[in-house]
């Protein structure tokens, strides 16, 4: 017997509100409710952000008068080899953490899906990294990565007869060690979103699949993954944003070192702004990050939409 899957009919382009409704009370009401939030966002996010964009064209000297330098800050940032390295590290770290976090989150979600009380306790325990301050997590991982046999991970390696590894002090391994911590922090967050997606999967499909005797991989490939596509879309979008803005993890764990091997976009921008007092350069770096983040988000959304239509 073959399970019949009802395919949804072609989706019509949604026409949410007619022209009349846009001008009517129904349209005004949501905006009224949104107004306080929008006002707060305007004052605390969008205006400072606009000011940041403005400052990126200046040599910022508040008390001596800002000097217009045009695109100099952008040129300086983009031609600085340390910044180029940092952009490379950001991409490697961002993509690695995002994909690693999604895969680990998906596996966790599959393992911990269900209604049993014990699962709830385990899920809560697994979720803890998300609610723990990143600075605390960073310090904890510094201790775990301690490069002698006193460190937790190295003592484990010692039991296997392998020598201690200087995870954070070796430029070859520091970025990967940071990525591992990032995945550890991100996976439970993704797990919760994917769990919500899994809860919506039609159980009868699993039953039908079981009767057909399909393999676990086929079940994942043809039932689970298509069903949680919207959840994966959200996770992917959030991961793209979070991956690029990675800061605290690196700042606490390695401070960008050793030898700049874990320097990322935000740590570089922070150093420019607050260690070198180059606010114009830091603003330019932030604006570039904004542009790339927008590009990433739009791209991910485009592919998500295209996937939905298909």
């Amino acid at each position: 017997m073959t399970a019949t899957v009802t395919t949804p009919g072609p989706r019509r382009a949604p026409r949410l509100l007619s022209k009349k409704a846009v001008l009517g009370k129904k349209a005004v009401l949501p905006w009224l409710f949104l107004a306080p939030g929008l006002l707060l966002a305007l004052v605390f996010k969008f205006l400072p952000m606009g000011k940041g964009v403005w400052l990126s064209f200046f040599d910022v000297r508040p008390f001596l008068g800002d000097k217009w330098v045009g695109l100099d800050n952008y040129t300086r940032v983009l031609t600085d080899h340390r910044f180029q390295d940092a952009i490379g590290h950001t991409l490697v770290l961002g993509i690695g953490m995002s994909l690693g976090g999604i895969v680990a989150g998906f596996v966790l979600a599959l393992l911990l899906e269900g209604q049993a009380r014990s699962l709830k306790i385990i899920r809560t325990a697994v979720f803890l990294p998300v609610v723990t301050a990143t600075a605390v997590v960073g310090e904890m991982w510094r201790l775990m990565y301690y490069p002698t046999s006193d460190g937790l991970i190295n003592s484990g390696l010692g039991l296997l007869g392998m020598g201690p590894v200087p995870y954070l002090d070796n430029p070859e391994t520091a970025l990967w060690a940071t990525m591992a911590m990032g995945i550890w922090m991100l996976a439970p967050y993704n797990m919760v979103i994917i769990l919500a997606g899994l809860a919506g999967v039609d159980r009868s499909l699993y039953e039908a699949a079981a009767m057909d005797g399909v393999s676990l991989w086929q079940r994942l490939r043809h039932i689970t993954l298509p069903a949680i596509r919207p959840a994966l879309g959200i996770v992917l979008t959030l991961a793209a944003i979070r991956g690029l803005r990675v800061f605290t993890e690196v700042y606490v764990l390695t401070g960008g070192g050793p030898a700049g091997s874990t320097d990322v976009w935000m740590t570089r921008a922070y150093t420019l702004g607050f260690s070198r007092n180059d606010i114009g350069g830091a603003s330019a770096a932030s604006v570039l990050l904004l542009c790339v983040t927008l590009l990433f988000t739009v791209t991910v959304n485009y592919f998500r939409k295209r996937g939905d239509v298909r």
Binding site: R12, F44, K51, G52, L55, P166, G255, F274, N277
Partner: protein, 449 residues
Amino acid sequence: MRDRRRCIDVRLRRGHCLAAALAVSGLLSGTAACGSGSGSARAGDPNTLEVWTRSDPDSAQTYKRVFAAFTEKTGIKIDYQPVMNFDQQLQSRASTKDLPDVMINDTALMGSYQAQGLLKPIDPASIAGHDEITAKSWSSTVGRDGRHYGIPYSRQAMTLFVRKDWRQKLGLPQPKTWQDTLALAKAFATRDPDGDGRKNTYGMVVPGSAQNGYVAWWGASWLWQGGVRIIEKDGSGYRPAMDSAAALRTVTWMKDNLFCGDNGVIQPSALTSVTANTTNFQDGNAGMYLTGPYNISTFDKALGKDKYEVLPAPAGPAGNDVLADGEDIYFGARTGKAKQEQALAAFLISPEGQTLAMTGDHQPVVRIPVNSTLDAARVRGDARWSVVQKAYEDASLQFPNAPDWAPIKQDTADSLNALFTYCGSDVKAGLKELNDTLAGDLKDQDLLK
């Protein structure tokens, strides 16, 4: 209906993503651009001074005691703000052109603040008791234009903290030279000075991260002792000096013997350590630490006074100069409260103000007094402070204060950290590159000669 809700969800989600993306990237520019304003109802009151210090909660208690005594004496109130992330907050306030009236912060930041126009120039003669501050201390507050931009408040010099009990157990003498230091460090790492039968001790603590320029701060004393200067005064300007033979010799020695030598001379993870997470000395697993005397109270509590000794730094090939730094009192530009500010500064440098700040149950905020009538060891009843005072007076050198030192320190730290990380690196080429970068920094400040 279902279709409609789904569609709204998608729209919200998309909007949310956009907002999130904007918010993320706005974070830094927001921090830079959005000042908190003075936030004080008393900011406009001419009889209230807003004072900022870069202090943790323990040091803040000492400052509170000092300011309370000042208010009692003069009637001028103090709106006191201890600020941990001082520079970030100050940049925020600067962007709103509303600075604190008085700031107490590191001496090495003066050039940076002056370059940004954040400070009011000071006439030493306008501060009562100015003649009790030595010429050496006053000379460190002269800006690029020859005027003073700060008032000395506290000074310190690095000294060597050594586990006395370990040294005596191993029967080794106090180190007098770099070679002695190295031999002692190796002995601490290999001869089980704590007697627990395990190889779990290290010779020396090093905060060697480039973050905030730490390795340049810690390494400066070694550079001075090797006869190195990072930049040198040249007429009315400066020139970079990290391509000298002395720099090559000193940095090579540090790399070969401390960072790339035998395991255990310095603590593991030194290359990513800053002072806050470099706790091996007080944790009892490292035997030496070249650092500032502000650690004395911490080490007394963690180890006990009898366990360690405070020694002058051992000499290198060019002497035993150490890095001196400290804190200055700065007046924020355009505050219009000159008389009150001068009164506060006069109190802070007076024997009474300095003594209050050096004593009490909390972390003292004046290390070596700038008031020449006071003796640090006598005020505290602790002879170890005379070692620090002597090091400051006789064998110390500050970072040049007139240029904007922040980029110079950061570039030096980035370069040293990279050279110490890659043991096979070409020191000469690395220092040449650093020298070119420093030349660029000086050129940006119109100071390159």
